[in-house]
């Protein structure tokens, strides 16, 4: 069965790249433009994996993860942070919020796919 990935990023170019890379591997990709949009789309569909940026308007990545982890259907869904932030402090916050992993931009398409394949349920 085709897996669905929710890609949350306020940058259209990043969403386009993520879409391009994941579709090559047969995933269905749903895009969201910020954390709030991501939460709404996550509730409307049941994504198998969530990829989210950190710095976004309305709701940032950490707040999105917290909101998703509070929903029963997203308690065990892998959530990867895909961000320019690389400080240990931010990573610790991400981990505490419930992130499954942390990828620093710019990402390499092959490495992104490797990580997605590894964590997707």
């Amino acid at each position: 069965m085709q897996k669905t990935i929710l890609a949350v990023d306020d940058s259209p170019s990043i969403r386009k790249m993520v879409q391009f890379i994941l579709k090559q591997d047969g995933y269905d990709v749903i895009e969201a433009v910020d954390g709030q949009d991501g939460l709404e789309k996550a509730m409307a569909c049941k994504a198998d994996l969530v990829l989210t940026d950190q710095n976004m308007p309305r709701k940032d990545g950490l707040a999105l993860i917290q909101s998703l982890r509070a929903l029963p259907q997203y308690r065990s869904v892998p959530i990867l942070m895909l961000t320019t932030e690389s400080s240990d402090e931010m990573k610790a916050k991400g981990r505490a919020a419930g992130a499954t992993g942390w990828l620093v931009k710019p990402f390499d398409p092959k490495r992104l796919l490797d990580v997605v394949r590894k964590v997707i349920l």
Binding site: T84, S86, G94, R95, K105, P106, F107, P109
Partner: protein, 154 residues
């Protein structure tokens, strides 16, 4: 009637000219950053359109090569597209740096703006007014090159 300290008068005049010069420079920097942002958006829109076309051509090439049983050109093109997918992320990174720079300009404008109306009074009053606290926003971007970032699974 209180006689104002002549040094305070001199200092107020100096600060006033200094503030005006800062305001003009900050305005110039803001305009240049906006211009840079527009150029960046335009360039990325064009590059993205080319990228999408190449992706479509790549899919076509893959089908042709499947029939010809030679996947070398497709793999080469796919490799280049992957490199482009990494490089095109500079837009997001550069946009965040620009936003951070604009925040800094805003902070400078606030700081100088607060000096525009200095109170009358002694040199001490003036000094107190000049000592203001600032909050620094931290730059979310540490990257200085487009090398691939780290991956960490918790």
């Amino acid at each position: 009637m209180q006689i104002e300290d002549p040094i305070a008068i001199h200092m107020r005049s100096f600060v006033s000219r200094y503030v005006e010069a800062h305001r003009v420079e900050a305005q110039g920097v803001r305009a240049e950053l906006d211009q840079l942002g527009s150029l960046l958006n335009d360039a990325v829109a064009r590059l993205s359109a080319s990228f999408e076309t190449m992706c479509l051509l790549s899919a076509g090439l893959q089908r042709v090569e499947a029939q010809a049983d030679d996947s070398a050109p497709f793999e080469k093109l796919q490799g280049r597209l992957n490199e482009a997918a990494t490089a095109l992320q500079f837009h997001d990174i550069a946009t965040q740096i620009l936003a951070q720079s604009l925040k800094r300009i805003e902070l400078i404008e606030q700081m100088t703006g607060s000096l525009r109306h200095l109170p009358d009074g002694s040199l001490d009053d003036l000094t107190k007014e000049l000592v203001f606290s600032t909050t620094r926003g931290s730059n979310p971007v540490t990257q200085s090159r487009m090398t691939v970032g780290a991956v960490e699974l918790f």
